[in-house]
């Protein structure tokens, strides 16, 4: 079973990963975006870390709800509402249990990713964060490690894709050949989850 602390460790690991990789995320957002994805998430996860420390939430759902709201209130851009919705929706699915099973986590994340797709209107193959989230969550049934690896592979697979959503879509054919920054940060998020799971 996964307790509240597990979700706090997840968010802490995610914040650390974003801090480490912020420059690379901004770099990736430069040729096919507006060069802010790293600084956006850095701002957001710094705030998430501070919020979780300021008033430590009592349940898994509360951790993710607070993290999601904080991202929405501090990130802006496309990724703020999308990641905010991912976490809020995932949290909501977990109910008010103090501990949840790995299968609960899988189902909740699945609902979270579905909410992201509904909000942003993107589908697999559109060269967005979904191209890491969808295979990642699909592999959660196997293990957290497998999910992280599948997300990482999904992010890498965005390179040859033609973007159909987000800023990269404005480039048309010229979006081909670059890895999507949001898919890359999604892979970091699932890697952080695996890290929290140990």
């Amino acid at each position: 079973m996964r307790d509240t602390d597990f979700f706090r460790r997840w968010m802490a690991a995610a914040a650390a990963a974003v801090e480490r990789e912020a420059d690379r995320l901004t770099e990736l957002d430069s040729p096919i975006g507006d060069a802010d994805h790293g600084s956006n998430l850095l701002r957001g996860f710094t705030a998430v870390r501070a919020a979780l420390e300021a008033e430590p939430p009592a349940t898994p759902a509360a951790v993710l709800g607070l993290a999601g709201r904080t991202l929405i209130s501090t990130v802006g851009g496309a990724s703020g509402p999308l990641y905010g919705t991912l976490l809020r929706r995932t949290g909501k699915e977990l109910g008010d249990a103090a501990e949840v099973s790995d299968e609960d986590v899988r189902k909740a994340l699945d609902a979270g990713v579905t909410a992201v797709a509904a909000l942003g209107g993107a589908a697999a193959g559109d060269k967005t964060m979904l191209d890491a989230l969808l295979p990642g969550v699909a592999a959660l049934g196997t293990s957290y490690r497998a999910a992280a690896e599948a997300a990482e592979a999904g992010a890498a697979a965005t390179v040859p894709m033609l973007a159909r959503k987000g800023r990269a879509s404005y480039l048309g054919e010229r979006s081909i050949g670059h890895q999507d920054p949001g898919a890359t940060s999604s892979a970091l998020l699932l890697a952080a989850l695996a890290e929290a799971a140990g």
Binding site: T26, S30, D34, G76, A78, G80, K165, R174
Partner: protein
Amino acid sequence: MRMLINSPETVVADALRGIAAAHPDLEVDVERRIVVRRGAREGGRVGLVSGGGSGHEPLHAGFVGPGMLSAACPGEVFTSPVPDQMLRAAAAVDSGQGVLFVVKNYTGDVLNFQMAAEFAEEDGIRIEQVLVNDDVAVTDSLYTAGRRGTGATLFVEKIAGAAAEAGAPLDEVAEIARRVNAASRSFGVALSACTTPAKGSPTFDLPDGELELGIGIHGEPGRERRPVMPSREIARTAVGAVVEELEQIAPQDGPVLALVNGMGATPLLELYGFTADVCAVLAERGVQVARTLVGNYVTSLDMAGCSVTLCRADEELLRLWDAPVRTAALRWGA
């Protein structure tokens, strides 16, 4: 890094403090990042709130004031604002007549304004939204993010602002805003990339002697790279792209409002020369120009380049365009 800043993190807050110092007519909440017309709630008018990433100045804060916006919500550089800002701005300007959000069509702006609209409605504020999407360089389809919002934002904010100032109800203000957007198209060209404070180097490599056609306003490259062309060829390309799309939408005749816009680092001297070329191409094509606005209004930090926006304007839109406006960056008749 050739920037006049203290640190990338403080750029937006620093600018807001400068706006507060220079424009006593504006209420600037630096902490919460909103710029509000003083006395916005008085007069019982519909509120007009816009916002978006910073780096496009004077858009939007420079357009807050009588006859135009009630409030602006600046996000981080090239990053849409967060819903809290729009929610606070809506609350600050709503006189009970409701508020129109003017939203440029970018995924981030759309999602954040949408969330703000939901929160505001929960708080009992009536919200309408208009989505500005005028950039013809981007294919518009159900399966893409759709056309970007660029120069037409100025037309929408000015004309809807005049309608709100005149006391039109929310539905009408929204309807006029949508009409202006539907009648507007833009095309942009970059002669250089821009440098964001966070990145500190140009957002893309553009070798000397080449230009990018069909750029947006966020430092992204365009649809196509070409060897540099003389101003009159650039005018032909930009005006051609805009007019061809304009010819496919109703009304198909009548004069246009023209915005010849600098991206930030193109000298006004050059921009006026380009204006002459734009007007010549329009005359060749038989398009009558009713009003021409030239300047750096919807910019992309220190990008060199320009864009052309045309709006097919009937009598009513022209009258609202000519109505008095008193903002930091646009001012006439008042």
